[in-house]
């Protein structure tokens, strides 16, 4: 006899009503790779895996498109789940405060937890399955500067596995999106805290420390890495198991490819990129019928950065289909460096030496006066020329990259290694 289990599928920010951007036209309808498609796959996964409940961690819809298109995408999935006997719970995120309550009153089979900024608990499972408590809190309005814990949630119960479902801004004091401290949440004593709001998926914890489920599927090229719902399996007497399901139809990755020094021609570069991308994509083992979007940075020290840069501008970016996955390179940035000993170069007094010292100053990040002076000069220059303000970290980072490129140019121009 199989051990009875209770399964809950946690779904992070879906932002239904959003269309993924930066997809090549050759992929066809971008909505095939959007949140609606991800939600449909998630529902299918929930049904196939026989979960007892699906829990949505807020930002179910995109606030700016919550009136029609998002609701249209959400309803069929909820009805499928209801038809399969799967209850769906949700907390309202900052995007949902107007749309989600309306949906619930519209007869959609969705239980909105913690409506109006209160804590609400429901029990999932029971009978012949382990009972699991789901406790949630919903945004009462778009902006909420108080911690959700300002109102105490139901107390932990050792005998009843409890999942906290919350849409909040972790460790961001002063945030207008329900700021809450990780430590405070962990101190509540729940078995798991599944959070929405930040789209970058967090590592799946083994304890009650909160983690972000992440967006259900990448919404834009900045949302890299594996996305998808998290399946929680509760078995009596066993630790709770969390597993991220690879159902997201779109995944973005930013890969820096270290170019070999002798790389020079477009053909060589094309082959190099193809080989690297193919190998790395295979290692990711994405689910079939999905897309993998890439932003590639060509890095490394090469003999002729200018040639590589020129070659990079001619790269054929036709999508590659591999194991049912559409792999496309959305952008290629050439950051190759000329092969040079920066430290040795910095000993010189010529412009290259001076620039090498700049690079070292900026890259090392030490708070020495020379570096600060350089940063101040750069900042003044930016402000004067383009009214740009950057914080020191960003300025240092971007300045270092610029200094690198300039050094490459300088060395290339001088014909020096």
């Amino acid at each position: 006899m199989a051990t009875p289990v209770t399964r809950i599928l946690f779904v992070g920010d879906m932002h239904l009503g959003t269309r993924p951007t930066r997809l090549p036209a050759v992929l066809g309808d971008p909505d095939r790779y959007g949140p609606a498609a991800a939600w449909e796959r998630t529902v299918t996964a929930a049904v196939e895996r026989g979960v007892q409940a699906v829990a949505l961690a807020g930002d179910v819809v995109n606030r700016r498109n919550a009136l029609f298109e998002a609701a249209r995408a959400l309803r069929p999935g909820l009805e499928r789940l209801a038809a399969a006997g799967i209850a769906t719970f949700a907390v309202a995120g900052n995007h949902d405060t107007r749309a989600l309550p309306g949906l619930v009153t519209d007869g959609v089979p969705l239980h909105l937890l913690g409506r109006g900024g209160t804590w609400e608990a429901v029990t999932v499972g029971g009978d012949d399955r382990p009972a699991v408590r789901l406790v949630g809190w919903s945004f009462p309005q778009d902006r909420w500067t108080e911690s959700p814990l300002a109102t105490p949630p139901p107390a932990a119960d050792r005998a009843l596995p409890t999942f906290g479902l919350l849409h909040a801004d972790l460790d961001a004091a002063g945030s207008p999106y329900a700021p809450v401290a990780s430590s405070a949440l962990a101190a509540v004593g729940y078995d798991r805290w599944c959070l929405g709001h930040i789209h970058t998926p967090g590592a799946l914890p083994q304890d009650g420390r909160p983690f972000y489920l992440g967006s259900l599927s990448s919404l834009d090229p900045t949302e890299t890495g594996e996305h998808g719902p998290v399946l929680a399996t509760v078995t009596a007497g066993d630790p709770i198991r969390l597993e991220r399901l690879p159902v997201a139809p779109l995944r973005w990755e930013h890969w820096t490819l270290a170019c070999p020094p002798q790389l020079r021609t477009a053909g060589d570069l094309q082959e190099f990129i193809y080989r690297e991308v193919s190998a790395r994509a295979a290692a990711l083992a994405p689910a079939p019928d999905t897309a993998l979007g890439l932003r590639v940075v060509l890095g490394g020290a090469v003999d002729d950065p200018a040639a590589v840069a020129a070659a990079a501008a001619t790269i054929d970016r036709t999508p590659l289909r591999q194991d049912g996955v559409e792999i496309f390179v959305e952008r290629i940035a050439c950051r190759v460096r000329i092969a040079a000993d920066l430290e040795a170069l910095a000993q010189g007094t010529d412009p290259a030496g001076l620039l090498a010292r700049h690079v070292l100053l900026l890259e090392n990040g030490a708070a020495d006066p020379a570096g600060s002076a350089l940063l101040a000069e750069l900042m003044d220059g930016l402000r004067t020329a383009a009214a740009i303000d950057l914080d020191e970290t960003m300025l240092r980072q971007r300045g270092a990259a610029a200094a690198r490129r300039l050094l490459d140019r300088l060395l290339g121009a001088g014909g020096r290694p």
Partner: protein, 1059 residues
């Protein structure tokens, strides 16, 4: 290397010999124009670089001194010879001849030409200092942010935002409309119910109208004559025909009756035998008549025969008479008498015959015939008729005597009678014979005739007897009998015909009467059918009925139609009433019109409501099925990302450019060759710190640039005043000399190069040159024709604690008299700068004419008065040292400190103040772009030459505010300026830094920013935060209100339209 003695004995251009004994430092070679100053310099050059000499023979000798001791060079001819201690010595190591111009600097060299020498110099220095890397070229090759592209991306972003906002607004509207959906549906249902109700009520009204119409039709029908169903349209016609027929038949009957009566009368008028059949009787009569006529014919024949015999006798008589006449006139006369008598006899005969009732006595005839025969016997003219007539006459005459003869005789003429007398006599005789024959025949026929006459009379008697039955008089002759018979026959026939006619007429009359009766009966039946009395001929009632027939039929039809309508409407009412929920059994007709109107009003909304509902449902379906907003948001996100990518790239490009510029600056500062540093130092010294020197590029290539520390402007040589340019190039050459001299340092000749400098600048230059000469052991010759220069030099060197210059009066040396008196050569005291005395800072500032602070001009032009922190003594000293502007102060501060003009503490405070001033500018400039300038418009290629003046005028009206200027262009501020041009102008102004959408910092934020930046550069400054904040607020206070309140209220200093 210094020249202790110079002997000139022969030199082209000089006609005398003389000796000069210069001093080791600065020598002032004084002499009027054309006194040989330049020749002296040329003489030294020819000795040191003989290859530059003009080839003419000369005699020159110089006693020199260098590290090796005394050195003599003599030129007796063309080539100089070197000797040391009396022995020939090698030429000392001197710079190449092409560098010789560096050792003789003339005002003409410095002021004129294209400075090719200096350019080459600059290029060489640049190459040397960058290790072969062309930083300028690299700067040119750097990618520049394409502001136009950013403009496009921003426009694209705005367009996508507009699009998503539009879709959002539309969906928002739709969502609000969705809230009305249920109400709309209810309204539609209500309106539909109202429509049904209105329809039912209208049906009820129609039904009521139908009932009334039916009743009216029924009443109309009832009002019609009851006989109308029996009335036919042709009844009147029938009636008329029957009447006509009746009249006709009656008239016919009457006419036939009259005819019958006439026939009867006529028949009655016909005398017919009383007994016996008239026809039979008539046949018998006919027989009798026939007999009578036969008898008469026989009598006639006998008479005719007798007449023939008589005629023959008469002819014979005529012939005899004629013959007699011819033969005897008397006979003719007798004949004539006979004719007359014959006529009379004939008359008498006729009378007698008449008297006898048709049958006369034969005798007269015989007599007449005899007479006639006599007459005929006489030859008569005129032919047979006449003769016949004469014969008849003769017969008649024969009856009456000789009367015919007489007439016959009268008709004959005497003459013809005479002609015929002879013939007649002849014939008379023949005729007499024949007359006798015929007279016999005549007598016999006379007898037969009498017999026949008798038979005839008998037959006539029988006829007469028969005639009595017919009421007829007995006919006298057969003709009469026959005529009578004919008449009787006609009478009988007429009687028969009349009888037949009478029968026919009687029958016809009876038939007509019968038909009249029948017509009358028919008419009676018609009238009876029409319910009319069988009256006489009066068609009016019938006509009335027939005329009423069509109305009646219409009435009937109306009635039928009304009934049908009533049924249909009753059925419709029941149906609609049930649909509308009304009682179908009895429509409530109360206030029907009002209720219909009310329902109609509600019903009239239905179409609008249904339309609205349909549209709403369609829009909702489309909104739910579409991806408009998702697509719009995605497009907006992509546009935003594109713009961010541009910003990212632009940031990288700007950073690269900033790094390169910094690299350039730092390298020039840190790694610049001694030449440039020395030149910079020298120029700074020459200009009391105002100008600095740097390498740069212009369109012609490498060149020197001068940094004006008062205006923070980098100036090209061409833009400098003559004096400054000379000072720059002098500094460059002086500095360069040190770099190129590997061994000996040849003397430097300055040929009136300071004539264009003001006294203070000249003093600075003089002291600097003297100091440099002293430091390097270089001998300097300053060639001048101005005695005042001597005083200036003396004053300058004295002020710098340097040895006084040696004055070489060339005129005196050439024994031409002193060039100037000693008093003319006295030192000139420089103008003093007023001290602060007891002034407060404000008063002292006003007295000094402290310039206002315009941050748009940068920090360099800032008056050092603002940086001294109220230390008026320091202000005075700085001004005396020429450090009036911050840029100058930054350059000379170390030297001033070194010279003890500022203390260490003052130096630190001034350095901090300078750092604050530097940081102040970008912080203050945030959101305060500089005002536009004429140059900004002049360099805008998007504007045509005709547009530029208008743009400048508009810009001036708008206080040179670029933002407002662009707003005005957007609002057609310059007519017919195309959108693309406006966009290009926007890009151009943005590229020139005239657009800054940031909010300006307030005083506290500005101070915080400045402090942050200063402390980032100088950690030690953290101990002086309050001082920095105070200085920031002081600087803010130093900005004129016009600039502080509206930075664009006037053009930037020196470059606006007032410049």
């Amino acid at each position: 290397m210094r020249i202790d003695r110079l002997d000139i004995r022969s030199l082209p251009g000089l006609d005398d010999r003389f000796t000069l004994e210069p001093g080791p430092g600065v020598n002032l070679l004084l002499g009027p124009n054309a006194s040989g100053k330049s020749s002296v310099a040329r003489a030294v050059r020819d000795l040191l670089w003989p290859s530059l000499a003009d080839g003419q023979a000369r005699w020159l000798r110089a006693v020199m001194h260098d590290a090796g001791g005394e050195l003599v060079v003599t030129c007796d001819g063309r080539e100089p010879a070197w000797s040391r201690g009396g022995a020939a010595a090698p030429r000392p190591s001197l710079p190449d001849a092409h560098l010789a111009p560096c050792y003789r600097v003339t005002a003409a060299d410095l002021l004129g030409g294209d400075h090719a020498f200096d350019r080459d110099l600059a290029a060489a220095i640049r190459r040397e200092m960058t290790g072969g890397i062309d930083l300028d070229k690299l700067a040119d090759e750097l990618d520049k942010p394409q502001v136009r592209r950013r403009n496009e991306l921003e426009q694209a972003l705005r367009a996508t935002r507009d699009r998503s906002a539009e879709v959002t607004r539309r969906q928002g509207d739709l969502a609000r409309r969705r809230a009305d959906l249920d109400q709309l549906r209810a309204d539609v249902a209500s309106a539909r119910a109202a429509g049904r109700r209105a329809e039912a009520l209208r049906a009820a009204r129609d039904l009521a109208q139908a009932v009334q119409a039916s009743r009216d039709a029924e009443a109309a029908l009832q009002a019609c004559d009851a006989v109308m169903p029996a009335v036919n349209a042709n009844d009147l016609q029938t009636y008329r025909e029957l009447g006509t027929r009746l009249a006709a038949k009656r008239e016919l009957a009457e006419r036939l009756e009259a005819q019958r009566r006439q026939l009867a009368d006529e028949l009655a008028g016909l005398v017919l035998p009383q007994a016996g059949d008239p026809t039979t009787l008539l046949a018998r009569l006919a027989g009798l008549v026939r007999d009578f006529k036969g008898a008469e014919a026989a009598a006639q024949a006998a008479a005719d025969h007798r007449a023939s015999a008589a005629r023959l006798a008469g002819a014979a008589a005529d012939a005899a008479l004629a013959a007699a006449a011819d033969a005897d006139p008397q006979a003719l006369a007798r004949i004539e008498r006979l004719l007359l008598e014959t006529d009379a006899a004939l008359g008498a005969l006729e009378e007698a015959r008449q008297e006898a009732g048709g049958g006369g006595p034969a005798l007269p005839w015989l007599i007449g015939a005899a007479v006639l025969a006599v007459a005929a016997a006489m030859p008569l003219p005129g032919g047979v008729p006449a003769r016949a007539a004469a014969a008849v006459a003769a017969i008649v005459l024969g009856a009456v005597g000789t009367r015919g003869l007489t007439a016959r005789a009268r008709r004959s003429t005497t003459e013809s009678a005479r002609r015929q007398r002879d013939a007649a006599a002849e014939r008379l005789r023949a005729l007499q014979a024949r007359l006798e024959t015929h007279s016999a025949e005549l007598a016999r026929s006379e007898a037969l005739a009498a017999q026949k006459q008798s038979d005839r009379d008998a037959a006539r008697g029988r006829v007469a007897e028969a005639c009595a039955a017919w009421g007829e008089d007995p006919p006298r002759t057969g003709a009469e009998a026959e005529a009578m018979l004919g008449a009787l026959t006609a009478r009988v026939e007429r009687a028969v015909a009349r009888r037949a006619q009478l029968a026919q007429v009687t029958a016809d009359r009876e038939a007509a009467s019968a038909e009249a009766t029948q017509a009358e009966a028919a008419r009676g039946a018609l009238l009876a059918r029409l319910g009319l009395p069988a009256q006489a001929d009066d068609e009016a009632p019938v006509a009335r009925l027939v005329d009423a027939l069509e109305p009646w039929r219409r009435t009937v039809a109306d009635h039928k139609a009304a009934s049908a309508v009533l049924r249909e409407r009753a059925e419709r009412w029941r149906s609609l009433a049930e649909a509308a929920g009304l009682d179908p059994t009895a429509p409530d007709l109360a206030d029907l019109e009002a209720r219909i109107d009310a329902a109609r009003v509600e019903e009239q909304r239905l179409q609008d409501l249904v339309g609205a509902l349909t549209n709403l449902e369609r829009d909702l379906a489309e909104a739910e099925a579409g991806h408009d907003l998702a697509a719009a948001l995605a497009a907006e996100a992509e546009a935003q990302a594109d713009l961010e990518a541009w910003n990212d790239d632009a940031l990288a490009q700007r950073l690269e450019a900033a790094l390169l510029a910094d690299l350039h600056r730092r390298h020039e500062t840190l790694s610049a060759p001694e030449d440039v540093r020395r030149a910079d130092d020298l120029l700074g010294a020459f200009t009391r710190g105002r100008y600095g020197l740097k390498l740069g590029r212009d369109a012609k290539g490498s060149t020197f640039l001068v940094r004006d520390r008062e205006t923070a402007a980098d100036l090209g040589l061409d833009t400098l005043s003559d004096g400054t340019r000379m000072q720059v190039l002098l500094a460059v050459r002086l500095a360069f000399l040190a770099g190129i001299e590997a061994g000996a340092r040849p003397p430097l000749f300055l040929d009136e190069t300071l004539t264009t400098s003001d006294p203070a600048r000249m003093a600075a230059i003089a002291s600097t040159v003297a100091a440099a000469a002293r430091a390097t052991g270089r001998q300097v010759f300053y060639l001048t024709s101005q005695p005042a220069d001597v005083g200036a030099w003396r004053a300058a060197l004295a002020g710098a604690d340097l040895p006084p210059p040696r004055v070489l009066d060339l005129a005196a040396a050439r024994r031409q008299g002193a060039a100037a008196t000693e008093s003319e050569l006295a030192p000139v005291a420089p103008a003093a700068i007023p001290g602060p005395g007891s002034d407060d800072p404000a008063t002292y500032g006003r007295r000094l004419g402290v310039a206002a602070f315009d941050p748009h001009a940068g920090w360099e032009p800032l008056d050092t008065f603002h940086l001294a922190g109220g230390d008026l003594g320091l202000v005075h000293r700085l001004r005396e040292a020429g450090a009036v502007r911050a840029g100058v102060l930054a350059a000379v501060l170390p030297r001033l400190a070194e010279a003890g003009l500022v203390s260490d503490g003052q130096r630190r405070r001034l350095e901090l103040a300078l750092a604050v001033a530097r940081a102040f500018i970008p912080a203050w400039s945030a959101g305060r772009p500089r005002p536009a300038t004429i140059a900004d418009i002049d360099t805008c290629e998007a504007l045509s030459d005709t547009m530029r003046p208008r743009a400048l005028a508009l810009l001036g009206e708008l206080a040179w505010n670029a933002h407002r200027f662009l707003d005005a262009l957007d609002n057609n501020g310059i007519a017919r300026l195309q959108r693309k041009i406006i966009d290009d102008v926007r890009v151009h102004l943005a590229e020139r830094g005239l657009l800054d959408a940031r909010a300006p910092l307030d005083a506290d934020a500005l101070a915080a920013s400045v402090v942050l930046n200063v402390t980032a550069l100088n950690a030690d400054a953290r101990t002086s935060l309050e001082d920095m904040r105070a200085l920031v607020h002081h600087l803010l206070g130093a900005i004129p209100r016009a600039i502080a309140d509206d930075p664009s209220s006037r053009p930037s200093s020196g470059s606006g339209p007032s410049a």
